[in-house]
């Protein structure tokens, strides 16, 4: 290899494109796909150094559509698989895509421990408030009263609030955005990627097929943007009628408040770049490991 530095290759959006998606038309997953490609281009990530990891669901198909490395795993287990990538190869950029069922129902335990371990990745929770791929059963975020084939008289438990849960579990970066807020989405992704640790990004995702009522993307009066110089700026193009709330993402108690607030908020709820990263600790241990000693020293007679 030559010792001169190669002129950095400029990656264009098409360098991130792979197979064509098989979602319903109007599905918010398309916008997420586009937004994430944009983010990778913005960050000029070499596709060869990117790994997308997902579970099963409509959202779980995302990795197939990026021309990067990817693991479309099994239902609910994207986080442990991604941790394997991160522990093995700290040089890679790791993204996780998970649905509300995938992350909060079957995958709940890994979410607890992923957040707690705070390993470096961007975790994108595509919340369409429904099980898409299995044809519309209630998910942990389905709105109360919404009729589904598994709860035909209306979903009867109160939905879990994913942002509150992530904060409760001690998340070091907790943000929320929406698939249709393309500018806000992109900036959120950029901020998440810049954060060292487990960046939890909740995405309001449209499912026109099974839960069109979940998110009213045509109006913007029902939500607020959290605004701060250390956060993400409001998206006034796509969310012109949203109120704007100033919120310092280092304030955890306030973050809890905003997480529970009506109208609901998009933006960065909480961020702390100083939390211990599990993978980093382990990698440091390994790197500072003394030189290999005699393997059998201890057991030799």
């Amino acid at each position: 290899m030559s010792s001169e530095k190669a002129v950095p290759k400029k990656f264009s959006i098409k360098d991130y494109k792979a197979d064509s998606p098989r979602w319903c038309s109007g599905c918010g997953d398309f916008s997420v796909l586009v937004g994430m490609r944009k983010h990778m281009m913005d960050a000029q990530l070499d596709p060869a150094n990117v790994v997308h990891v997902s579970g099963i669901g409509c959202s779980g198909r995302l990795p197939h559509y990026f021309n990067t490395y990817g693991i479309h795993g099994v239902h609910g287990r994207a986080i442990p698989i991604a941790l394997g990538v991160v522990l093995a190869r700290p040089d890679l950029n790791v993204f996780i895509e998970s649905g509300d069922g995938d992350a909060l129902s079957i995958g709940g335990n890994h979410l607890i421990h992923g957040i707690n371990k705070n390993f470096n990745c961007v975790f994108v929770l595509l919340d369409n408030q429904i099980y898409g791929l299995t044809k519309s059963q209630s998910s942990p975020t389905t709105q109360t009263g919404f009729r589904t084939p598994s709860q035909p008289e209306g979903t009867f438990m109160d939905p879990i609030n994913p942002i509150q849960v992530a904060l409760g579990l001690g998340g070091s970066f907790v943000a929320s955005t929406a698939d249709w807020l393309s500018g806000h989405f992109l900036e959120t992704m950029n901020a998440a990627a810049a954060h060292p640790g487990f960046s939890f990004v909740h995405v309001a995702q449209r499912c026109p097929k099974y839960n069109p009522e979940a998110w009213d993307y045509k109006s913007s009066s029902w939500y607020s943007f959290l605004n701060h110089e250390n956060g993400v700026a409001p998206d006034q193009k796509f969310g012109p009628d949203a109120t704007i709330v100033d919120h310092d993402p280092s304030d955890r108690s306030k973050a809890f408040e905003y997480a529970q607030r009506v109208p609901r908020c998009f933006g960065v709820f909480y961020k702390d770049d100083t939390t211990t990263c599990y993978a980093k600790v382990l990698q440091d241990k390994k790197n500072k490991g003394e030189q290999p000693t005699d393997l059998f020293a201890k057991v030799r007679l």
Binding site: A48, H72, V74, R77, L83, V86, L87, A88, L282
Partner: protein, 598 residues
Amino acid sequence: MEKKDIRLELLMDAGNGAQSAASMLINEFAKEGKYVFIEPMIPAEISPPKRTPHSMSGAIVRTSNFEISCIGSSSDLMLVEHEILIDRRLNDKEYTKDTIILLDAGDERRNKDGYQAVYNRMDKLGLTYVAFNLPDVCKSIMLQLKGRGKNMVYLGMLTAIFNSNYDKMYHFVKTSYKKLSPEKQDLNCELYKEGYKFAQSEIDVRYSIESKRDDSKKVFMDGNMAISFGAIDSGIKLFAGYPITPASSIMHELAKIFPSYGGIVHQAEDEISAMGTVVGSYFSGVPAMTATSGPGLSLKQEIIGLAMASEIPAIIVNVQRGGPSTGLPTKTEQSDLQACLYGCHGDNTKVILSVADVEDCFYAPHVARYLGEKLRVPVIILSDYATSVSFKVIGEPTQNKLENIDDINDDILERFFLTRFKEEIPMVKNNQSIPGEQGKERRVTGLSTDGDGRVDFSSDAAIDAHNIRNQKMHILKESLQKPEIFGQEEADLLIVGWGSARGVIKETIDKCKENKLSVSGLHFKIVNPLPLGLKELLSKFKRVMTVEVAYGDRYKSAPFARELRNETLVDVESGVCEPSGRPLKPDVIMTKIREVLS
């Protein structure tokens, strides 16, 4: 008594240090040039109440002047702390008419009837026993140690009984209690000395084994330590696991030393997660392993299937314990074979290695890497409780510091009766690049795909993928050598086993030879796939039966028998198939052989 081969047992209440005393003893034995094998007996609870059957803890030590490969059938000497333990232990029937029992009668005043009952039982069984009372000096020193230290008395006694080197052992005891205060160290040494003196003068039992001089380097380890060292030497760089008996000590051992060798130990939140992390790591090009036992294996099945379908190597150690369900966590069994073979839904292709002994444990990770990476399939290493905790003195293995799997030593492959692959292995997905390789970006999935890795639900794609996956395994099948045969290639009876059965089979066949019985043995290390030519091989024997620590009966074949029957259509019987939690015993097999041959 001059002997070639002695088995002794030290049984005490859990927490009283039987295992550490036994391991000091055999360390010394080993240094004297004896061959040793030790199987600890561990209760399933941490410190079950003393003076109950549940608290039985101890060690079985076998020592000899020839290479031994199993723990044997029965003990020559048992040194037992109190009546409840010997009563419990007699149930396992690991005694003969020649067994001598040294029973500490110190508790007799607490339970005269109990002791009497046990004496009666031993009398009835025709066993020789000596009920002894420790000298008062021991008792008063132990008082100073708050009741501890009896194990050192016993160690002293055993030193005398086995004519072992008192000075060296004394020194060993002295240096073994570094963490204690100097006074306590001294008290322990005192107890050791008193025990020695006591047995010298009061106990009229002596054994000796002529030590063989052998200057080659020797190491002393149990199966799980060997797997840990093997993992390091084979170039594995990540271990992800969740604690479970008896697999945990692999993680413990690695946690101590792996970082110095550039490795990472990750304690996951559960077994599913650990398995996922192994897959993520291996996909990224970094060899990774997990270790578990039965219940954990069941949990890992789904992701093992993902690894198989998406062609990601993965190494899974499964240390079998007593089952089913939570079962008997500190007992041995060989009942997970079929869960490994078939546990995951859908058509499964994966490699299953088993380990016969401590040496195999060291080399199994190398072979697992070789096969896993070549075929890009999950590889399961099947060990068992007995192997995992049994210490053995072995010649020091050569270190390989394996990086590229193609550099693996032929000897290692040979050990598992394997020939190096000569041909290119076909893959369902043509592109098998790893992250970082430019222009070869790819996605893997558990969904059906075409050769380009694209999701494809057509019949053609599904059939092609099935064919190629199985073809890979068939290439391995064709690369397998004939498994190890003990004795003639034709005989009245063939006994067959796998994994930890090797030593017992070997020893049994040796005995058959001595007794001029027409019996051979066959042992498998790779249990899936099975080699070609088995039908011909088995057909040369009038009868074939397996010996397994697993259930079988007239209606239901034991697991390995079942596999052989399907593979060969030979009437392979389930010969010895008692999942008793105890390792196979040569004597039990001999009895069965005589029954079959008569």
